[in-house]
Amino acid sequence: MDAERSTWVWSGFSIVLLLFLHFLFRPMFVSLPVAPNLLVGALLLATLRLRAGHAAFLGFGLGILEAAMALEGMGWYALALTVIGYVGARSRDLLFADARFYVFGYLFVGTWIAESVLLLLGTTPPGLIRLLAGGATDAFLTALVCGGAEAATASIAERQV
Protein backbone atom coordinates (compact mmCIF):
# COMPACT_ATOMS: atom_id res chain seq x y z
CA MET A 1 0.00 0.00 0.00
CA ASP A 2 1.47 3.41 -0.95
CA ALA A 3 1.80 6.23 1.59
CA GLU A 4 -1.00 8.38 0.17
CA ARG A 5 -3.52 5.52 0.09
CA SER A 6 -2.59 4.27 3.56
CA THR A 7 -3.02 7.76 5.04
CA TRP A 8 -6.42 8.11 3.35
CA VAL A 9 -7.65 4.75 4.67
CA TRP A 10 -6.55 5.38 8.24
CA SER A 11 -7.79 8.97 8.29
CA GLY A 12 -11.13 7.83 6.90
CA PHE A 13 -11.31 5.19 9.59
CA SER A 14 -10.60 7.70 12.39
CA ILE A 15 -13.19 10.16 11.02
CA VAL A 16 -15.88 7.45 10.77
CA LEU A 17 -15.00 6.26 14.29
CA LEU A 18 -15.28 9.79 15.71
CA LEU A 19 -18.67 10.28 14.01
CA PHE A 20 -19.84 6.88 15.27
CA LEU A 21 -18.84 7.81 18.84
CA HIS A 22 -20.50 11.21 18.52
CA PHE A 23 -23.89 9.82 17.53
CA LEU A 24 -23.66 6.91 19.98
CA PHE A 25 -22.80 8.99 23.06
CA ARG A 26 -24.54 12.18 21.96
CA PRO A 27 -27.00 12.35 24.92
CA MET A 28 -24.07 12.06 27.34
CA PHE A 29 -21.99 14.70 25.55
CA VAL A 30 -24.83 17.24 25.41
CA SER A 31 -25.69 16.74 29.08
CA LEU A 32 -22.15 17.46 30.27
CA PRO A 33 -21.18 21.09 30.94
CA VAL A 34 -18.03 20.66 28.83
CA ALA A 35 -17.42 17.90 26.30
CA PRO A 36 -15.57 17.44 23.03
CA ASN A 37 -17.62 18.12 19.92
CA LEU A 38 -16.65 15.06 17.91
CA LEU A 39 -19.01 15.97 15.07
CA VAL A 40 -17.27 19.27 14.32
CA GLY A 41 -13.87 17.69 15.06
CA ALA A 42 -14.46 14.88 12.56
CA LEU A 43 -15.74 17.36 9.96
CA LEU A 44 -12.65 19.55 10.41
CA LEU A 45 -10.38 16.50 10.09
CA ALA A 46 -12.20 15.57 6.88
CA THR A 47 -11.76 19.10 5.53
CA LEU A 48 -7.99 18.59 5.81
CA ARG A 49 -8.19 16.02 3.02
CA LEU A 50 -11.35 16.76 1.05
CA ARG A 51 -11.93 19.32 -1.64
CA ALA A 52 -13.94 22.36 -0.46
CA GLY A 53 -17.08 21.30 -2.35
CA HIS A 54 -16.96 17.77 -0.98
CA ALA A 55 -16.30 19.09 2.53
CA ALA A 56 -19.33 21.38 2.22
CA PHE A 57 -21.44 18.41 1.08
CA LEU A 58 -20.23 16.32 4.04
CA GLY A 59 -21.03 19.22 6.39
CA PHE A 60 -24.52 19.49 4.89
CA GLY A 61 -25.18 15.77 5.41
CA LEU A 62 -23.89 15.80 8.96
CA GLY A 63 -25.97 18.91 9.69
CA ILE A 64 -29.15 17.12 8.59
CA LEU A 65 -28.31 14.08 10.75
CA GLU A 66 -27.46 16.25 13.75
CA ALA A 67 -30.75 18.15 13.41
CA ALA A 68 -32.65 14.84 13.24
CA MET A 69 -30.93 13.75 16.46
CA ALA A 70 -31.48 17.11 18.17
CA LEU A 71 -35.11 17.31 16.93
CA GLU A 72 -34.65 20.95 16.02
CA GLY A 73 -32.59 23.28 13.86
CA MET A 74 -33.26 21.38 10.60
CA GLY A 75 -31.69 23.59 7.95
CA TRP A 76 -29.75 25.82 10.33
CA TYR A 77 -27.43 23.02 11.46
CA ALA A 78 -26.99 22.03 7.80
CA LEU A 79 -26.22 25.62 6.83
CA ALA A 80 -23.73 26.09 9.66
CA LEU A 81 -21.87 22.83 8.99
CA THR A 82 -21.90 23.41 5.21
CA VAL A 83 -20.22 26.79 5.74
CA ILE A 84 -17.79 25.29 8.29
CA GLY A 85 -16.90 22.48 5.86
CA TYR A 86 -16.31 24.86 2.96
CA VAL A 87 -14.45 27.53 4.94
CA GLY A 88 -12.41 24.83 6.71
CA ALA A 89 -11.23 23.30 3.45
CA ARG A 90 -10.54 26.71 1.89
CA SER A 91 -8.59 27.95 4.92
CA ARG A 92 -6.56 24.73 4.77
CA ASP A 93 -5.73 25.64 1.18
CA LEU A 94 -4.83 29.19 2.07
CA LEU A 95 -2.79 28.42 5.18
CA PHE A 96 0.10 26.00 4.97
CA ALA A 97 -1.07 22.84 6.71
CA ASP A 98 1.98 20.67 6.93
CA ALA A 99 2.76 20.77 10.64
CA ARG A 100 1.23 18.68 13.43
CA PHE A 101 0.83 21.75 15.62
CA TYR A 102 -1.17 23.37 12.85
CA VAL A 103 -3.75 20.56 13.03
CA PHE A 104 -4.22 21.12 16.76
CA GLY A 105 -4.60 24.88 16.30
CA TYR A 106 -6.86 24.37 13.29
CA LEU A 107 -9.14 22.04 15.30
CA PHE A 108 -9.16 24.38 18.31
CA VAL A 109 -10.01 27.57 16.41
CA GLY A 110 -12.39 25.78 14.00
CA THR A 111 -14.35 24.10 16.79
CA TRP A 112 -14.55 27.30 18.83
CA ILE A 113 -15.99 29.23 15.89
CA ALA A 114 -18.34 26.35 14.98
CA GLU A 115 -19.58 25.95 18.58
CA SER A 116 -20.23 29.68 18.85
CA VAL A 117 -22.18 29.69 15.57
CA LEU A 118 -24.24 26.63 16.59
CA LEU A 119 -24.99 28.15 20.01
CA LEU A 120 -26.04 31.45 18.46
CA LEU A 121 -28.39 29.58 16.09
CA GLY A 122 -30.12 27.92 19.07
CA THR A 123 -33.44 28.93 20.60
CA THR A 124 -31.88 30.38 23.74
CA PRO A 125 -29.15 32.96 23.13
CA PRO A 126 -26.14 31.84 25.18
CA GLY A 127 -24.47 34.07 27.72
CA LEU A 128 -21.10 35.62 26.87
CA ILE A 129 -19.35 33.44 29.48
CA ARG A 130 -20.83 30.25 27.97
CA LEU A 131 -19.81 31.43 24.52
CA LEU A 132 -16.24 32.27 25.46
CA ALA A 133 -15.28 29.96 28.33
CA GLY A 134 -17.51 26.95 27.55
CA GLY A 135 -16.80 27.17 23.83
CA ALA A 136 -13.04 27.41 24.39
CA THR A 137 -13.00 24.43 26.77
CA ASP A 138 -15.08 22.34 24.38
CA ALA A 139 -12.76 23.37 21.53
CA PHE A 140 -9.67 22.48 23.55
CA LEU A 141 -11.07 19.02 24.38
CA THR A 142 -12.08 18.50 20.76
CA ALA A 143 -8.61 19.47 19.55
CA LEU A 144 -7.08 17.11 22.10
CA VAL A 145 -9.29 14.10 21.22
CA CYS A 146 -9.49 14.60 17.44
CA GLY A 147 -5.88 15.79 17.18
CA GLY A 148 -4.83 12.70 19.13
CA ALA A 149 -6.86 10.44 16.84
CA GLU A 150 -5.33 12.12 13.79
CA ALA A 151 -1.78 11.80 15.16
CA ALA A 152 -2.34 8.13 16.07
CA THR A 153 -3.75 7.18 12.66
CA ALA A 154 -1.00 9.16 10.89
CA SER A 155 1.72 7.30 12.79
CA ILE A 156 0.05 3.93 12.06
CA ALA A 157 -0.17 4.83 8.39
CA GLU A 158 3.50 5.91 8.31
CA ARG A 159 4.58 2.67 10.01
CA GLN A 160 2.67 0.57 7.49
CA VAL A 161 4.41 2.13 4.52
Binding site: S31, A52, A56, G63, I64, M69
Partner: protein, 279 residues
Protein backbone atom coordinates in the same frame (compact mmCIF):
# COMPACT_ATOMS: atom_id res chain seq x y z
CA UNK B 1 2.50 14.12 5.86
CA UNK B 2 0.94 16.65 3.47
CA UNK B 3 -2.59 18.00 3.62
CA UNK B 4 -2.09 20.74 1.05
CA UNK B 5 -4.23 20.25 -2.05
CA UNK B 6 -4.84 23.61 -3.63
CA UNK B 7 -7.31 22.96 -6.43
CA UNK B 8 -7.25 24.44 -9.89
CA UNK B 9 -9.22 27.71 -10.26
CA UNK B 10 -12.07 26.02 -12.17
CA UNK B 11 -12.36 23.35 -9.43
CA UNK B 12 -12.44 26.07 -6.81
CA UNK B 13 -15.27 27.78 -8.67
CA UNK B 14 -17.18 24.49 -8.87
CA UNK B 15 -16.66 23.96 -5.11
CA UNK B 16 -17.95 27.45 -4.38
CA UNK B 17 -21.03 26.92 -6.57
CA UNK B 18 -21.75 23.58 -4.82
CA UNK B 19 -21.36 25.19 -1.38
CA UNK B 20 -23.70 28.04 -2.33
CA UNK B 21 -26.32 25.59 -3.68
CA UNK B 22 -26.11 23.56 -0.45
CA UNK B 23 -26.42 26.75 1.63
CA UNK B 24 -29.57 27.73 -0.27
CA UNK B 25 -30.94 24.21 0.13
CA UNK B 26 -30.28 24.45 3.89
CA UNK B 27 -32.23 27.71 4.03
CA UNK B 28 -35.04 26.03 2.08
CA UNK B 29 -35.08 23.19 4.65
CA UNK B 30 -35.27 25.64 7.55
CA UNK B 31 -38.28 27.27 5.89
CA UNK B 32 -40.22 24.01 5.53
CA UNK B 33 -43.37 23.44 7.56
CA UNK B 34 -43.08 21.65 10.90
CA UNK B 35 -44.88 18.60 9.42
CA UNK B 36 -42.38 18.29 6.55
CA UNK B 37 -39.41 18.65 8.90
CA UNK B 38 -40.94 16.03 11.19
CA UNK B 39 -41.34 13.67 8.23
CA UNK B 40 -37.63 14.09 7.29
CA UNK B 41 -36.62 13.64 10.93
CA UNK B 42 -38.74 10.49 11.21
CA UNK B 43 -37.22 9.00 8.03
CA UNK B 44 -33.67 9.64 9.27
CA UNK B 45 -34.37 8.44 12.80
CA UNK B 46 -35.91 5.23 11.53
CA UNK B 47 -33.13 4.51 9.01
CA UNK B 48 -29.52 5.80 9.32
CA UNK B 49 -29.87 6.91 12.94
CA UNK B 50 -31.94 3.94 14.11
CA UNK B 51 -28.97 1.88 15.45
CA UNK B 52 -27.71 4.86 17.48
CA UNK B 53 -31.14 5.70 18.88
CA UNK B 54 -31.75 2.03 19.67
CA UNK B 55 -28.44 1.78 21.52
CA UNK B 56 -29.10 5.01 23.44
CA UNK B 57 -32.59 3.87 24.47
CA UNK B 58 -31.24 0.49 25.56
CA UNK B 59 -28.55 2.20 27.65
CA UNK B 60 -31.04 4.61 29.27
CA UNK B 61 -33.53 1.84 30.02
CA UNK B 62 -30.95 -0.45 31.57
CA UNK B 63 -29.25 2.32 33.58
CA UNK B 64 -32.34 3.49 35.46
CA UNK B 65 -34.50 0.39 35.39
CA UNK B 66 -34.41 -0.17 39.16
CA UNK B 67 -35.19 3.52 39.76
CA UNK B 68 -38.17 3.28 37.41
CA UNK B 69 -39.50 0.15 39.15
CA UNK B 70 -39.40 1.91 42.54
CA UNK B 71 -41.07 5.03 41.13
CA UNK B 72 -43.76 3.01 39.34
CA UNK B 73 -44.51 0.98 42.47
CA UNK B 74 -45.00 4.16 44.50
CA UNK B 75 -47.10 5.69 41.74
CA UNK B 76 -49.25 2.55 41.47
CA UNK B 77 -49.96 2.57 45.22
CA UNK B 78 -50.91 6.26 45.10
CA UNK B 79 -53.16 5.68 42.08
CA UNK B 80 -54.88 2.73 43.72
CA UNK B 81 -55.69 4.91 46.74
CA UNK B 82 -57.02 7.69 44.50
CA UNK B 83 -59.19 5.28 42.51
CA UNK B 84 -60.76 4.00 45.73
CA UNK B 85 -61.38 7.56 46.91
CA UNK B 86 -62.77 8.56 43.51
CA UNK B 87 -65.18 5.65 43.05
CA UNK B 88 -67.83 7.22 45.32
CA UNK B 89 -67.24 10.67 43.88
CA UNK B 90 -67.93 9.52 40.32
CA UNK B 91 -71.25 8.00 41.36
CA UNK B 92 -72.16 11.07 43.39
CA UNK B 93 -71.26 13.32 40.43
CA UNK B 94 -73.46 11.29 38.07
CA UNK B 95 -76.41 11.39 40.46
CA UNK B 96 -76.10 15.14 41.07
CA UNK B 97 -75.84 15.81 37.33
CA UNK B 98 -78.95 13.72 36.73
CA UNK B 99 -80.85 15.68 39.41
CA UNK B 100 -79.79 19.08 38.05
CA UNK B 101 -80.27 18.03 34.42
CA UNK B 102 -76.65 18.53 33.38
CA UNK B 103 -75.13 16.38 30.63
CA UNK B 104 -72.43 13.81 31.45
CA UNK B 105 -69.07 15.20 32.55
CA UNK B 106 -66.63 15.10 29.62
CA UNK B 107 -63.00 15.84 30.26
CA UNK B 108 -61.66 14.17 27.12
CA UNK B 109 -59.38 11.19 26.96
CA UNK B 110 -55.65 10.85 27.27
CA UNK B 111 -53.16 8.75 25.33
CA UNK B 112 -49.91 7.60 26.87
CA UNK B 113 -46.68 8.19 24.96
CA UNK B 114 -42.93 8.31 25.23
CA UNK B 115 -41.27 11.72 25.61
CA UNK B 116 -37.84 11.85 23.94
CA UNK B 117 -36.08 15.14 24.77
CA UNK B 118 -34.14 17.03 22.10
CA UNK B 119 -30.75 18.66 22.43
CA UNK B 120 -30.37 20.81 25.53
CA UNK B 121 -29.35 24.43 24.96
CA UNK B 122 -27.55 26.09 27.84
CA UNK B 123 -28.55 23.09 29.98
CA UNK B 124 -32.25 23.31 29.08
CA UNK B 125 -34.11 21.13 26.60
CA UNK B 126 -36.83 22.95 24.66
CA UNK B 127 -38.13 20.34 22.20
CA UNK B 128 -39.16 16.73 22.39
CA UNK B 129 -40.38 13.92 20.19
CA UNK B 130 -43.63 12.35 21.39
CA UNK B 131 -44.46 8.83 20.32
CA UNK B 132 -47.74 7.14 21.26
CA UNK B 133 -47.89 3.38 21.55
CA UNK B 134 -50.89 3.12 19.20
CA UNK B 135 -51.72 5.17 16.12
CA UNK B 136 -53.42 8.03 17.97
CA UNK B 137 -53.33 11.30 16.04
CA UNK B 138 -53.98 14.18 18.46
CA UNK B 139 -55.40 17.44 17.15
CA UNK B 140 -52.58 19.92 17.59
CA UNK B 141 -51.73 21.93 19.55
CA UNK B 142 -52.45 19.48 22.35
CA UNK B 143 -51.39 19.66 25.98
CA UNK B 144 -48.87 17.13 27.29
CA UNK B 145 -48.80 16.42 30.98
CA UNK B 146 -47.45 13.85 33.38
CA UNK B 147 -49.25 12.60 36.50
CA UNK B 148 -47.33 15.31 38.42
CA UNK B 149 -48.11 18.28 36.18
CA UNK B 150 -47.75 20.16 32.91
CA UNK B 151 -44.91 19.08 30.60
CA UNK B 152 -45.48 21.12 27.45
CA UNK B 153 -47.44 21.24 24.24
CA UNK B 154 -47.48 19.01 21.17
CA UNK B 155 -47.14 21.26 18.12
CA UNK B 156 -47.41 18.78 15.28
CA UNK B 157 -48.49 15.15 14.94
CA UNK B 158 -47.96 12.65 12.19
CA UNK B 159 -48.74 8.92 12.29
CA UNK B 160 -48.67 8.39 16.03
CA UNK B 161 -45.68 10.63 16.73
CA UNK B 162 -45.13 14.34 16.88
CA UNK B 163 -42.88 17.21 17.79
CA UNK B 164 -43.54 19.23 20.89
CA UNK B 165 -42.12 21.97 23.06
CA UNK B 166 -41.46 21.77 26.77
CA UNK B 167 -42.80 24.59 28.94
CA UNK B 168 -39.23 25.96 28.95
CA UNK B 169 -39.66 27.05 25.30
CA UNK B 170 -39.84 30.85 24.91
CA UNK B 171 -43.14 30.53 22.96
CA UNK B 172 -44.93 28.44 25.60
CA UNK B 173 -47.98 30.00 27.31
CA UNK B 174 -50.65 28.44 29.52
CA UNK B 175 -53.68 29.91 31.27
CA UNK B 176 -53.65 29.15 35.00
CA UNK B 177 -55.71 29.82 38.12
CA UNK B 178 -55.44 29.23 41.82
CA UNK B 179 -57.42 26.16 42.98
CA UNK B 180 -60.08 28.44 44.49
CA UNK B 181 -60.25 30.56 41.35
CA UNK B 182 -59.33 33.73 43.24
CA UNK B 183 -56.74 34.68 40.61
CA UNK B 184 -56.16 33.79 36.98
CA UNK B 185 -53.30 34.69 34.66
CA UNK B 186 -50.97 33.59 31.90
CA UNK B 187 -47.83 31.63 32.66
CA UNK B 188 -44.65 31.54 30.59
CA UNK B 189 -41.07 30.37 31.03
CA UNK B 190 -38.68 32.83 32.60
CA UNK B 191 -34.92 32.85 33.05
CA UNK B 192 -34.46 33.72 36.73
CA UNK B 193 -31.30 34.86 38.47
CA UNK B 194 -28.55 32.26 38.29
CA UNK B 195 -29.69 31.14 34.78
CA UNK B 196 -32.35 28.87 36.34
CA UNK B 197 -35.45 28.39 34.18
CA UNK B 198 -38.56 29.20 36.19
CA UNK B 199 -42.09 30.29 35.29
CA UNK B 200 -43.57 33.78 35.39
CA UNK B 201 -47.25 34.36 36.14
CA UNK B 202 -48.39 37.55 34.42
CA UNK B 203 -51.54 39.59 34.22
CA UNK B 204 -52.53 39.45 37.90
CA UNK B 205 -54.47 42.60 38.93
CA UNK B 206 -52.32 44.78 41.20
CA UNK B 207 -54.78 44.51 44.14
CA UNK B 208 -54.69 40.66 44.06
CA UNK B 209 -52.03 39.04 46.17
CA UNK B 210 -51.09 35.38 45.87
CA UNK B 211 -49.29 33.96 48.91
CA UNK B 212 -46.05 32.05 48.42
CA UNK B 213 -46.59 28.31 48.16
CA UNK B 214 -49.98 28.60 46.39
CA UNK B 215 -50.53 25.84 43.84
CA UNK B 216 -51.42 26.96 40.32
CA UNK B 217 -53.45 24.71 38.04
CA UNK B 218 -54.45 25.02 34.39
CA UNK B 219 -57.63 27.02 33.81
CA UNK B 220 -58.55 25.12 30.64
CA UNK B 221 -59.04 28.37 28.73
CA UNK B 222 -57.86 27.98 25.16
CA UNK B 223 -58.71 24.29 24.94
CA UNK B 224 -55.11 23.12 24.68
CA UNK B 225 -54.71 21.84 28.25
CA UNK B 226 -57.46 20.24 30.34
CA UNK B 227 -58.51 22.24 33.40
CA UNK B 228 -57.09 21.38 36.81
CA UNK B 229 -53.64 20.07 35.86
CA UNK B 230 -51.01 21.23 38.42
CA UNK B 231 -48.41 23.59 36.97
CA UNK B 232 -46.31 25.03 39.78
CA UNK B 233 -46.08 26.79 43.12
CA UNK B 234 -45.88 30.55 43.59
CA UNK B 235 -42.49 31.58 45.02
CA UNK B 236 -42.66 35.37 45.31
CA UNK B 237 -43.74 38.52 43.55
CA UNK B 238 -41.47 39.29 40.60
CA UNK B 239 -39.75 42.62 40.18
CA UNK B 240 -41.52 43.45 36.93
CA UNK B 241 -44.77 45.39 37.28
CA UNK B 242 -46.64 46.77 34.30
CA UNK B 243 -49.54 49.19 34.63
CA UNK B 244 -52.38 47.76 36.68
CA UNK B 245 -51.00 44.24 36.88
CA UNK B 246 -48.09 42.50 38.55
CA UNK B 247 -46.21 39.21 38.11
CA UNK B 248 -45.21 36.29 40.28
CA UNK B 249 -42.26 33.93 40.06
CA UNK B 250 -43.42 30.29 39.95
CA UNK B 251 -41.50 27.11 40.72
CA UNK B 252 -42.51 24.47 38.13
CA UNK B 253 -43.58 21.05 39.35
CA UNK B 254 -42.19 19.17 36.34
CA UNK B 255 -38.69 19.69 34.94
CA UNK B 256 -38.12 18.52 31.33
CA UNK B 257 -35.28 16.18 32.28
CA UNK B 258 -37.51 14.21 34.66
CA UNK B 259 -40.12 13.17 32.10
CA UNK B 260 -39.95 9.96 30.09
CA UNK B 261 -43.65 9.21 29.72
CA UNK B 262 -46.38 11.77 29.07
CA UNK B 263 -50.12 11.98 28.53
CA UNK B 264 -51.52 13.81 25.53
CA UNK B 265 -55.00 15.30 25.87
CA UNK B 266 -57.27 14.05 23.09
CA UNK B 267 -60.09 16.49 22.56
CA UNK B 268 -61.53 16.05 19.09
CA UNK B 269 -58.65 13.72 18.17
CA UNK B 270 -58.68 10.74 15.85
CA UNK B 271 -58.63 7.60 17.95
CA UNK B 272 -57.61 4.27 16.40
CA UNK B 273 -60.46 1.97 15.47
CA UNK B 274 -60.96 -1.02 17.80
CA UNK B 275 -59.80 -3.31 14.97
CA UNK B 276 -56.40 -1.62 14.59
CA UNK B 277 -55.74 -1.43 18.33
CA UNK B 278 -56.39 -5.12 18.78
CA UNK B 279 -53.71 -6.07 16.22
Amino acid sequence: MRYLTVGRPESQRRDLVLAVILAFFSLFLSGLSLESRLAITEVLRSSILAPFIGAQNMFVRSSDLSEQVAALTTEREALAARVLEGADLALENQQLRAITGLPDRRTGEFAVGEVIPGAPEAGVSHSFLFRTRNEVVPVTPAGISSPEGIVGVLRTAHGGSGLGEFWTHPDFRVGVRTPTGSATGILRSFLAAGEETMMLLEGIPFQTDIPAGTLLVTSGIGGVHPPGVPVGFVVEEADSRSGWSHSFLVEPIVRPGQVRVGLVWLVGSVLPSPDSSSD
